[in-house]
């Protein structure tokens, strides 16, 4: 029995290791593969995963359409924390990040962004009536007791830290539901996400003990883009070509506006501007 058992076990262990994933990095490889792997965050309306596992949200929808036009019919999404997306991209876990990862100069240096796709301002989710009167990240820094929740590795976290909120008052919240719950339980005083994400959370929760304050004063309007690995500029440029066509024909607006995004905002700026080139 020991023989057969150990043979079976070794075979299954080996078999597992042999099935290593194929690396596809150029557009041709993606076309051959038939799908592109994208990183998402499950933060509606930027990205969302439905009960049946299907992926929607403005960013994946745009990506799906563009990739289709490039000859790659499917996108396969994997959920990731924002902070893990760029390392994941660099480690070839994804082919692109389409999750509302806002363009900032330091991120632009780490990845190859497409032209802007989704733009939004920052917002606060607060107890109804905004008892502490928070209007900006600096207000939170000024109040020594206030704690703010934000996604790990996201823009809001950075903004809070830069405004002077100490590390132990910025709570990394894994997802929207947790953030809402933590606010309702009084664990955090403020939960910060982009405007549309907060609106979506409030709408879904139907809870009138919370309200939104937007836009946060002193915080810029950010836009995201599809992010590709450095070195994949050819793929990125092909993406940009199709994206531009869609913007021109109005199809881009048709995809993002039902989610609440402003197509005009994305079309009125450019990667060069946002990356500070």
């Amino acid at each position: 029995m020991t023989y057969r058992l150990s043979a079976l076990l070794s075979a299954s262990a080996l078999g597992l290791l042999v099935a290593l994933p194929v690396q596809a990095d150029t557009l041709d490889d993606l076309k051959e593969q038939g799908f592109a792997r994208i990183a998402i965050a499950n933060e509606p309306p930027f990205t969302a995963v439905a009960a049946d596992g299907s992926v929607s949200g403005a960013a994946p929808d745009v990506a799906r359409e563009v990739f289709k036009r490039l000859g790659v019919p499917e996108v396969v999404a994997s959920i990731s924390e924002y902070g893990a997306m760029i390392p994941g991209l660099q480690a070839r876990r994804h082919d692109a990040i389409t999750a509302g990862l806002f363009m900032k100069p330091e991120r632009c240096a780490a990845v190859a962004y497409s032209e802007p796709v989704l733009c939004d301002a920052e917002a606060f989710l607060l107890p109804a009536g905004n008892p502490k009167g928070f209007a900006s990240y600096e207000d939170i820094a000024a109040d020594p007791e206030a704690t703010i929740g934000a996604p790990g590795g996201g823009t809001e976290e950075k903004l809070a830290l830069e405004a002077g909120v100490p590390r132990d008052r910025v709570i990394v919240v894994p997802d929207g539901q947790s953030g809402l719950k933590m606010l309702q339980d009084g664990r955090i005083d403020v939960y910060s996400l982009p405007v549309l994400s907060i609106s979506d959370l409030i709408a879904k929760s139907g809870d009138d003990s919370v309200e939104m304050f937007a836009p946060v004063e002193g915080a810029p309007v950010y836009c995201d883009g599809a992010a590709f690995r450095k070195g994949e500029e050819a793929l990125r440029d092909a993406f940009d070509v199709e994206l531009a066509k869609m913007k021109e024909s109005g199809e881009f607006a048709a995809i993002v506006e039902p989610y609440g995004f402003s197509a005009a905002a994305a079309m009125s700026t450019s990667r060069a501007e946002l990356c500070g080139e």
Binding site: A84, K158, R167
Partner: protein, 220 residues
């Protein structure tokens, strides 16, 4: 991606902050586990059947389900019934409760290892239940249990990263935070591994000493 020593020194203070919290949680959790485990062990031997069986089921249930999920429940669900614990407290209780189910087993083994004759002699000399436990049984049962309990202390220490899932700012959480903002995963993750390994190896050495002093003489 090459290793950047300058970066390592830069993040070291942040990581050490996290380590402090990790150690704090471990010690507090160990105290909870030690005390609660004893409670579980005693209740399981209770003459009142429903209590003994209920405790037994509870212990089995907690042991058979993941600590991570238990932490989520304590952190996110309890507030719904009015018990809102700060993250650190929730983490300590979660870890302590989980490992109490293991220490309960150690206690049980240790208590059962005390010869029946001791119990009978205590009965014969008219000691009260309380005296029997405190003066006769526990002093004999506890020393051999110490190495096993120490092993679980180390296990608890290694499980503390799970607390990052309920927002406790321990070592792993600090490392992830550093990695998130700098886009470099290699150094923080490796340093966390090194910290754990070093502390663990030291603890293993200490436990060997404990075993030599308190452990049962193995008839090997």
């Amino acid at each position: 991606m090459t290793w950047d020593w300058a970066f390592v020194w830069q993040i070291m203070p942040t990581l050490l902050q996290g380590l402090k919290i990790t150690l704090l949680v471990t010690v507090l959790g160990a105290i909870v586990a030690a005390v609660l485990g004893l409670v579980f062990a005693v209740l399981r031997r209770s003459a009142f059947k429903p209590l003994a069986q209920g405790t037994s089921f509870l212990v089995q249930f907690i042991r058979g389900t993941p600590l991570l999920v238990q932490l989520y429940v304590i952190f996110y669900v309890l507030p719904d019934i009015g018990i809102r614990l700060p993250a650190l407290v929730a983490g300590v209780i979660g870890i302590g409760l989980h490992y109490a189910t293991y220490t309960a087993e150690v206690y049980r083994g240790g208590i059962e290892a005390v010869p029946r004759g001791q119990w009978e002699a205590a009965r014969a000399t008219n000691l009260t239940i309380r005296q029997t436990w405190l003066q006769v049984v526990l002093p004999q049962a506890v020393p051999p249990m110490i190495p096993a309990l120490a092993n679980y202390l180390i296990a608890m220490f290694k499980e503390t990263p799970l607390l990052s899932a309920i927002t406790v700012l321990e070592l792993m959480n600090q490392a992830k935070s550093v990695a998130n903002s700098s886009y470099r995963y290699v150094e923080p993750m490796t340093m966390v591994g090194v910290f754990f390994l070093v502390i663990s190896l030291i603890s293993v050495a200490l436990i060997s000493l404990l075993e030599a002093r308190y452990g049962r003489r193995a008839s090997r």
